[in-house]
């Protein structure tokens, strides 16, 4: 056992740093580091730069365009990206649907869909949750009824993040009859968002923004060839996808960068009689977050190391989901502490991607409360943290 980087790994780190320095556009990294919103164009532009370099699909198998990196290289990559202010990979295509396609899709589907994901030509979104199927995802009602070579889809999907940008949506739909057991009636289909009968309506979140949507399907006809794998096996595929989603959710590198920035901000934050960094209660909360994050980082590394030996991420990924979101939310609260009264103003224009005026108060304070409000979603999405605990109880503890 050894935590030092080898000479090759150090060289890789240097290469990554140099690449980010040269290739990451500053107008994008500036937004990411300041915590202000990034646009669709920012994400696509950056993904295309990565694709050019061959570094877009970090986790994919090499044969489909993946990097073939070791867990250590992936760790270095994630850390350097977070430090440099690279935007997060929008996960829906790259991290969610692609693994399902290359694992369960047929050859034609792989050739049809994977290159456009790799090169960010197509924006994907996720059609899982429904108004009445949240934590109990398998009770979903959106139906796909076979009609010749097509499925006719009816129903409503919700919490569709950035669905208003999307070209395609991957959906869990009900294909069995009413008597089929929930999990055996679900199929995994890919739907072109331009198909007639699809409407996208915005959901405004607590921070005043449009990030999520409801997607309505009204007799949408989808070719049967857009189904991945077997009819009725969608639940199995979805579960694999969810474990991938959960590892990404830990966002350790991102939290580390936010925590470092927080420390610096605290030294500059006046309490009237000194700086907040000298405040013992603040120090103690900061320390709790920092040490929890150290534990989480090693838990994630252990998980990654296990995955690299060929295992799919197992129920352990639930730990990453729970702790990753808890630490991130604790950091959100610390940012509000640092901002003090300046976390209170809500000036909507300040969050437009092209805003160039002066913020009310320090620009680092402006997004602290909206971020805190919005990020309460983190312990709810991707299988709520309560569901993660159920998974641990059932799959790990055998309860």
């Amino acid at each position: 056992m050894n935590i030092d980087f080898s000479a090759e790994e150090k060289a890789f780190e240097a290469e990554v740093r140099q690449f980010l320095e040269e290739q990451l556009p500053q107008e994008i990294s500036r937004k990411v580091l300041a915590g202000t919103p990034t646009s669709k164009d920012d994400h696509v532009r950056w993904q295309k730069i990565l694709a050019e370099k061959g570094w877009a699909a970090v986790n994919w198998p090499v044969e489909y365009g993946g990097t073939g990196w070791t867990p250590t290289q992936k760790y270095i990559w994630a850390n350097e990206c977070a430090k440099a202010g690279a935007p997060d990979v929008v996960p829906f295509g790259m991290k969610m649907v692609a693994p399902v396609i290359y694992t369960y899709g047929n050859e034609e589907q792989k050739q049809r869909f994977l290159p456009d994901i790799l090169n960010s030509n197509v924006w994907w979104c996720q059609g899982y949750s429904e108004p009445n199927a949240g934590s109990d995802l398998a009770s979903l009602k959106t139906s796909a009824v076979r009609d010749g070579d097509h499925y006719v889809i009816n129903g409503t999907k919700t919490w569709t993040t950035l669905g208003h940008y999307a070209d395609w949506i991957f959906c869990l739909v009900r294909t069995g009859d009413a008597n089929t057991k929930n999990q055996e009636a679900i199929s995994f289909v890919l739907v072109d968002m331009d198909d007639p009968g699809i409407t996208v309506s915005p959901i405004i979140t607590l921070d005043g923004h449009r990030e999520v949507n409801e997607i309505h399907f009204d007799n949408v006809r989808v070719p049967v060839e857009n189904r991945i794998g077997e009819e009725g096996k969608g639940w199995t595929y979805a579960k694999v996808l969810l474990t991938h989603e959960r590892t990404g959710i830990a966002r350790v590198a991102h939290s580390k960068v936010r925590l470092e920035k927080l420390k610096k901000l605290a030294t500059e934050a006046s309490t009237g009689m000194g700086s907040l960094a000298e405040d013992s209660r603040f120090q103690s909360k900061l320390l709790d977050a920092e040490i929890e994050l150290q534990a989480l980082e090693f838990t994630e590394l252990r998980t990654l190391a296990a995955v690299s030996t060929g295992k799919a991420p197992g129920p352990e990924s639930s730990i990453l989901k729970i702790k990753g979101t808890e630490v991130a939310q604790a950091i959100d609260e610390l940012y509000m502490d640092v901002a003090g009264y300046y976390s209170l103003p809500f000036v909507k224009e300040q969050f437009l991607p092209d805003f160039e005026g002066e913020h009310v108060g320090p620009d680092t304070a402006a997004n602290s409360a909206p971020k805190y409000f919005n990020n309460r979603k983190a312990s709810i999405y991707g299988g709520s943290n309560e569901i993660q605990k159920n998974i641990i109880c059932k799959a790990v503890l055998g309860l």
Partner: protein
Amino acid sequence: MDFSLSQEQQMLQDSVAKFVQNDYDFDTRMATVNSEANFNQDFWNLFAELGWLMVPFSEEDGGMGGGAADVMVLMEEFGKGLLMEPYVANVILSGGLISRLGSDEQKAELLGELMAGQCQWAFAFTEADSRYCLHKVNAAAEKTASTYQLNGQKAVVMNGAAADKLLVLARTSGASADRDGLSLFMVDANAGGVKRQGYKLQDGSNAAEVSFDKVELEASALLGEEGQALSAVEAVIDNACLAACAEAVGAMGVSLEKTVEYTKTRVQFGVPISKFQALQHRMADMFVEHQQAKSMLLRAVLLSEQDPAESAKAISAAKYRIGQAARRIGQESVQIHGGIAVTDELDVGHYFKRLTMLEMLFGNSDYHAQRYQELS
């Protein structure tokens, strides 16, 4: 010992509760949030008519002579409906300072107007680097013969965008964080040299950044004695803490109630989620938090009325503990509701936002924990 409300308090509670119940549903509130003014002038006039704006002022000043308990009763009901009308900025803060420090003439004129709902006030005390420290004041008023010249900036002034008049805490002598040398000035919000940048706060209420550039003030603009303002400021901020605590207790109770109701109707895995023990215990914890918060509020109210020596300490203890409860109940209400509570359309998220703000206003939990220790 007697924790029951007096007949007058009971009537006040009934009357505010009835108003919130009948006239202040969530849609009405959101219409106000989205309006230009951020509060409803008709409601404000109604509050004046019903005597709610008179509650804490002495009978000789034309008020109702109510104490901390009366304000508590009113604010708790306001909290239940997430009222947007700027009661604390006007009545508790500005009115509180005028009634404490004003001359008979000033009180007769200004409090009369305020209680009639005819003038909007804002108390400008925070600055960019003061955080919760009340005597860290850089805005300065320099005496020139019989007038003062005011210069400086105030940050996040609640009701500052809507205000007709500002009460400004400024330094007339001493260094930036000295306790002595602070004075209060009444400034017309539209006077020459006063610049306001108005905006909304997270809950939709209004505030402003205010700057003063060579604002000329008559000697009559001074409220109370020159250089001696701090103790009155501390006293009204303590009252504002109590009001925020009472509002939070009201809001927490509704947030809990709505969460319990929602779990009974939300079906997942074939049963209402209220059947899951994991959630039941968490709602039981929320209930316990709410009761503990209520106890701290009552304790602080009673000590502030009956034991001045213990008052500040009891108020800091309450603000600390209620702030913690507000965080927990706000977060748990959202978590147990799930995604729907992170949307703008459901009221629970708005309770969460308001509770978050109340934890922070007039000193957050950490600040008050520290103040409690210093006072011990």
